[in-house]
Amino acid sequence: MTDTPSDMRGAGRRHPVIRAADALSTLCGWIAAAMIVASVMITCQMIFVRSILNHSTIWQTEAVVYLMVTATLLGLPYVQRLRGHVSVDLLPLALPKRFRRGLIAFTLAAGIVVVALMLYYGYDLWHVAFSRNWKSDTVWGVRLWIPYAAMPIGFLIYLIQLCVDLFAVLAGLDRKLSLEDHH
């Protein structure tokens, strides 16, 4: 977890498609980080308003929760780009290189299928909430399509990043995924 992301980028990372996807994911990462910082600020504001001013705190917990959910979903592609999603690499490391690439491609493909599922049904949920104007059951009454939008958007960009990673593996462009410099 301390290895810096820069050494994960092989020469293949210069391919334009890969670079475009990387840029998109990085943008998501910035937004996610900004949302986490915003949650810190809002929570501190809430504690101040409640315990020092003794006023009502109506919207803060809800806002923070939705910010955290959105930060997580938008963070998925960014963390994928940094190879930050933890995995058990024993078997891939033990395999000869040819099989290793096949196995990595296969696991990426399986991930793509399940993320596509999440994207499809996540969009569906967003659409229902939007068309029926669902709100959260609180005084603040957030229109739920706003936080729900994090699902289609986050999973879509995560899907793109996974597809690009699969492409990089198949085209032999990803040095990191060949695990040469892994641990």
């Binding site: 409640r50 315990s51 003794n54 006023h55 009502s56 705190t57 109506i58 803060q60 917990t61 809800e62 029926r132 669902w134 709100k135 959260s136 059951d137 609180t138 005084v139 009454g141 739920l144």
Partner: protein, 305 residues
């Protein structure tokens, strides 16, 4: 056929027993139908049950209907301060045209009511008794339900929103000075260890919440006649039990609080009226403004004697 029933309470809770009665009756009828109960939110989070129910991914649930108030704002009337006066009044409300209107709305979501039922609740204060509106002024308060938050805020309380599971700790450390929720929640979260005074639901009570046993309408209609009859028979028995137990809950909670050395305060009719005046200017007003036909529904509910 197997039906899946989900709810959020432990197996010792009255609402579990209501579900269990229906399940047992159906099993005893021997009509090739079983109801599998998933208690203690082991399947869905409490507020997440209505959507799967209406989409047929869940067959039955015991569910506080106001949780779905974000999807059907009309349902907010099922947790409105001062609308229900006592348990017998609640029972009459269940047979009224008002409930008929709500059932029509549920039918639009492919949901039908199997067992009607209301549960009551009260107030606790960390340092003092809460009976009249002036008592909550300036207190950090956690209320159950949006309409109550609006009423309490109008009475001068500061509203703190947090999960009911955090009430105990928040009271203990002093983050929270007052709370309002159901009698059974007060007991199950052992709030009596942290408060000075309890205002239970007695002759008059502000807090009544409609918590029926619901079923997916299509799933019900797809059953054969014998199976439907078994459910209906179980439901009738369960509903009678629910009403009896609902009354006992309040008295039982008082016993628990008394035993823990907590002072018991009672709300007078005048204090109840004062609360309701505030509610009319805050939560009722807000409801009518935000719900088309809201005034009509509210009047229907208020017209029940």
């Amino acid at each position: 056929t197997e039906l899946r029933l989900s709810h959020q309470w432990s197996t010792s809770d009255v609402r579990h027993k209501v579900a269990q009665i229906v399940a047992d009756e159906v099993a005893a009828a021997d009509v090739d139908l079983t109801i599998k109960i998933f208690p203690s939110k082991s399947l869905f989070k409490p507020r997440e049950q209505y959507k799967p129910l209406s989409r047929g991914q869940l067959d039955m649930t015991v569910f506080p209907l106001s949780y779905a108030g974000g999807q059907r704002p009309e349902f907010n009337l099922t947790l409105m301060p001062g609308l229900v006066k006592n348990h017998d009044h609640a029972a009459r409300l269940n047979d009224s045209p008002f409930m008929g209107e709500l059932e029509k709305l549920m039918a639009e979501d492919d949901v039908r009511v199997v067992v009607h039922g209301y549960l009551a609740g009260g107030f606790v204060g960390k340092d003092k008794c809460i009976t009249k509106p002036e008592d909550v002024a300036g207190l950090q308060t956690r209320a159950a339900g949006k309409a109550f938050e609006q009423m309490l805020a109008a009475a001068g309380a500061s509203i703190a929103s947090m999960a009911s599971s955090e009430i105990y700790n928040a009271m203990q450390t002093g983050v929270l000075q007052a709370a309002n929720t159901s009698s059974s929640s007060f007991v199950s979260y052992r709030i009596y260890e942290q408060v000075k005074c309890y205002t239970p639901a007695a002759d008059v009570a502000l807090w009544f919440m409609y918590q029926p046993l619901l079923m997916n309408k299509t799933a019900y209609e797809e059953l054969n006649d014998a199976q439907r009859a078994a459910i209906d028979a179980g439901a009738a028995k369960a509903q009678a039990y629910y009403l009896e137990e609902a009354k006992k809950q309040d008295a039982a909670s008082v016993e628990v609080f008394k035993k823990a050395g907590v002072e018991i305060a009672n709300m007078t009719q005048d204090e109840f009226n004062a609360w309701r005046e505030i509610a009319k200017k805050s939560s009722y007003k807000n409801f009518v403004e935000n719900v088309p036909d809201g005034q009509k529904l509210l009047d229907m509910a208020l017209s029940v004697e």
